[in-house]
Subunit: 342 residues, 4 copies
């Protein structure tokens, strides 16, 4: 049994981690921390978990966390970097669901996240936790940076294209639509039902923090600098990301075959038959990224549709997938639930 701790489990990625771990046969959740909710029972805060956990939230405490085999950070950006060193020294492995260890370039990180990094010495060691790219490195990693939600959908959608698709790497476009849970379980005006339902809007067009993360991943994959225009949108739904990706290239590559061969052995990437249109609800609550690739009317524009659930493959379930890899468990363990439809 892997002894697991969760730091900061009161948000949506926290409750999703608990949902997956509650049905995971190889895991025991030993401790879950929250400063603000210390003393509250997990099932009091999340009645959907009644009867599944006896745990109470406790104040974060290095000693207790140090007894775990693995600690997940489901905290805001800037927390994991202050505690990771101590935990690693204590022999605890760490998966950060926030952004602290996602960028390799310290300057870039500090520019986009607007704070000094508290543990720059760990950046080289941290493994970017996208299993479809880094599976081997994740296996041995002490510290895994779980990818962002948009970066998961966009990178999985673009990877075959930028590595083997002969497309113009200077003109990539990712138009992504996310459900409101991407903004977290925080009381801000813009996430109110009365503000966000029955409406759709783009945001952060001048620049979003997930842009450098995606560019880092794609550039590394193809060995060249890529230029990406990334426009995120807020869609009036709880969960789901639909990334619509555009690239230009007139090569006659069989794109369908390219994607099928790239992902044929991946347990959690599902390439749809030619001509398909995935919908976000088809992967709701699952760890699946579902992809379709099109070349409309035989032109030189290629359109890739890539959908995930932002809270699962885009956060908690991918973290569990990384845990499974790190601890030598079957990669699908605990992650094999079908989507809830309708």
């Amino acid at each position: 049994m892997v002894r697991v701790g969760i730091v900061g489990g009161t948000g949506y990625t926290g409750v999703e981690l608990l949902r997956f771990l509650s049905g995971h046969p190889g895991v025991e959740v030993a401790v879950i921390t929250s400063r603000s909710e210390a003393g509250t029972g997990v099932a009091e805060l999340f009645p959907s978990l009644r009867g599944r956990f006896d745990l109470q939230f406790s104040a974060p405490d290095l000693e207790t966390l140090g007894d775990c085999d693995l600690v997940f950070f489901a905290t805001p950006n800037g927390t994991a970097m202050t505690m990771a060193s101590d935990l690693l020294e204590a022999g605890v492995r760490v998966i950060d669901l926030a952004a602290d260890f996602r960028l390799k370039d310290l300057g870039l990180w500090e520019e986009w996240y607007g704070m000094p990094h508290a543990a720059p010495e760990l950046l080289p060691e941290a493994v970017y936790g996208l299993p479809e790219v880094n599976r081997a490195a994740i296996r041995d990693a002490r510290l895994v940076a779980n990818p962002g939600c948009y970066p998961t959908a966009v990178q999985l959608g673009f990877l075959p294209l930028v590595t083997e698709g002969h497309v113009d790497l200077a003109r990539l476009i990712a138009d992504a639509k996310s459900g409101v849970s991407g903004a977290g379980r925080k009381a801000n005006l813009g996430s109110l039902l009365c503000e966000a339902s029955e409406s759709l809007k783009a945001y952060a067009v001048p620049g979003h923090r997930h842009l450098p993360e995606i560019v880092q991943g794609l550039s590394a994959a193809c060995g060249r600098a890529v230029e990406l225009t990334f426009v995120p949108h807020l869609a009036p739904m709880i969960r789901g990301i639909h990334a619509t990706l555009y690239a230009f290239g007139s090569d006659d590559a069989n794109l369908q075959a390219l994607y099928e061969s790239r992902y044929g052995h991946e347990p959690f990437v599902d390439v749809l038959p030619a001509g398909s249109h995935p919908e976000t609800r088809g992967v709701k609550g699952t760890n699946i990224c579902r992809i379709a690739v099109h070349r409309p009317r035989g032109g030189d524009a290629i359109v890739v549709l890539s959908v995930i659930d932002n809270l699962t493959k885009g956060a908690a379930a991918q973290a569990v997938q990384n845990m499974n890899i790190m601890f030598g468990l079957r990669e699908e363990t605990g992650l094999n639930l079908p989507a809830l439809v309708p």
Copy 2:
């Protein structure tokens, strides 16, 4: 008083036409037809209109319609073209909210709409009813082809750019998201709340009928062939279109000034201040197209955000705007309601 007839008023564009005309001081709705609902009171079918109309639906009848000054067709594609000639001969002016007269190229129309055209001789005469482009011609038109919803949002968003923005006309992208009312008031599975809510998907990526309409409009505006990749999406909301438009061009044009000058005198196009992100709910129920233009991070990609309400500026209210122009009324008459927020 303009004496108005409506053919096929049982759909969403029909009820919206009635909403606008009920408050229009210069109009009398004399007849509204529906084969299936003949004999039903308008307010029985649409309780939101109780107390506003004594009208009943009647079977379509050329004689009664021939007494009108203007007939709106709020019918499926393929109906207006069978009745327009007779009405025009009877001296009635016609606005078709469907697609029968939108394309100038007969072959193209028959290819995309999958039927022979019943009145090809009217195609040269029909005026494409986008007032921001064709105001003068609309004034004198006997037959107006009211634009499609996507084409309205996409053309208004792209026009300044393709005519004066020095962009690559071979690589235009329109990623558009529409509310479900775009599919009409028809009992099809995909429009059920249980199928379409809490989900988002692209559709018709291989080709959508609004593509040739947009391309025709943009090509005419700039005098050159444009190539457009157009991907429509179904978003989980009732109303609204958000078109996110991408073009490439490194010219140093002041895009903000370009848009403000192009639309400064337009009553229904609202260019937001630099850096803005319009939301669809901000124009809900109105005739306004709201636009913002960005050049993210100073690169060569330009992003234009263009939002409308698909049922109003994208259909019924634009039809009323065209009517106002045709009959010499103030263009804003009856169209000056603020959006309903929240």
Copy 3:
């Protein structure tokens, strides 16, 4: 022209007041206050009002407000009572959209609202602004207490029954369902789209502040004490209240005729034909209360269905209706817009 001030216009009742007043021919909005948004343009905060108001929010100031003919308070409970006296003395009439002057019983008010009342001397003078009950008194009132949203729907639904329906006054039940906008434009967790959509729940079953207000109104109407069980629910939509009312009585009164005769001359109460089921969207954005009355299977239980839009007939539009009455304007002025459907 009635010179109007609005105190606290940054919430949903504020933006709705502005929407109605922007199209009202007899009103000039002279001042709108907000401590937190002082200096912000109205259309900056509410882009749906772009082009309609040049106003900026200003800090509340008795001198400026004192120049108005009428001041609306769209503030939280507890604000109007601190400023009303001064305004009344300055000759300004006041409509409070909050609860400060709704209860006649000071002790009851302080018990339910949990604070001492700052202007108990005004309670006797304040007129409860339900026009269908108090039209004459409203005409001459200096101070009007605009009813709560639930109390409007429940009282209008129950009034004919408790006054003339021979029902058991000790066993009235009001099961009411409200959209989330009833909670206001406040950043609290429970109103997040991710918390409130795709779910429904009762709340405040042990006791809700609108209970004493409803009981006061019904008891006054029938001259006897009534006992009411009131259960409010949060429904996953932006606007609308559906009150389902239950009473017991085996009298053979013609209930349909009773309701039609009671409300036949009311401009904003619409009694549906026998057998009908009103829906909240049918009155969305309007000042209408729509009612249907049933006696299922001829038993002794009577079921009344009463729907309003909580932000309009339940708040802002009813306040404008009261203003029209107070200033001798036609009661429908500015309130005659049809619902936005779909």
Copy 4:
């Protein structure tokens, strides 16, 4: 392994049955039928099940179904009664998720369902499949009538009260709110997103088919005739039933203790602590009925809040629970998933 057949698996109860059975260790789904979709792969129709079933829909065929141990009918009313006899004779046990065998009184059934019953001889044998009432009989049943969605929520909520709560059995009220999936996966206008979202309405106030089913169950439980007013409502969400139940009785019974003792050993009825308000999303996708009981302000009205997911405890999952009981499996098998929140 229980060899299972499903007749009519193209609706929402069908896809939910498949979701639960796909993770059930003791079951093999051998055949799934649909006349209209014969030849279509299950995962083609329901992409959420990709990778989980190799099955195709086939035309219903008694021979193939006769090889099953158990056949679920997920068909419209009126189908199971035409096939049940033959299956029972072939030794197959049957669970009907529709209404064919729910009422014991043939005349009542034919009155409410508007057709002659095709197998009246089976009515006495059929066991009403509410495990919390009929567990022992279900164990040995050949034919189980799976309860309706509203009847499940209402009966579980009322049972302790009518049997031991000393309430007025002539004045029971059930005000129930259901998500739109209760109307099934059928293309009817009223279930469109544009018709059913952002609105709430009562329906069938004069009489709903679930009324006699509930009355039959409650009367049987307490041994006396009960009179119930039942008002169903359509709420703008996909899943969930919230039944708000009202009864009158001034007895000093400790209601909380009554409910806790009645349901303390039930695996799928969860009585919340005193003062609670369950929400439908807390049981979304699960087999749980969650209940809270209140006596507001110490009066003689009792309010019970009872929530279920209409597609699971209200249909498919309860059918699997019945199957587990019938085949001697642990009752929770395959049903132990937490709700998906948010």
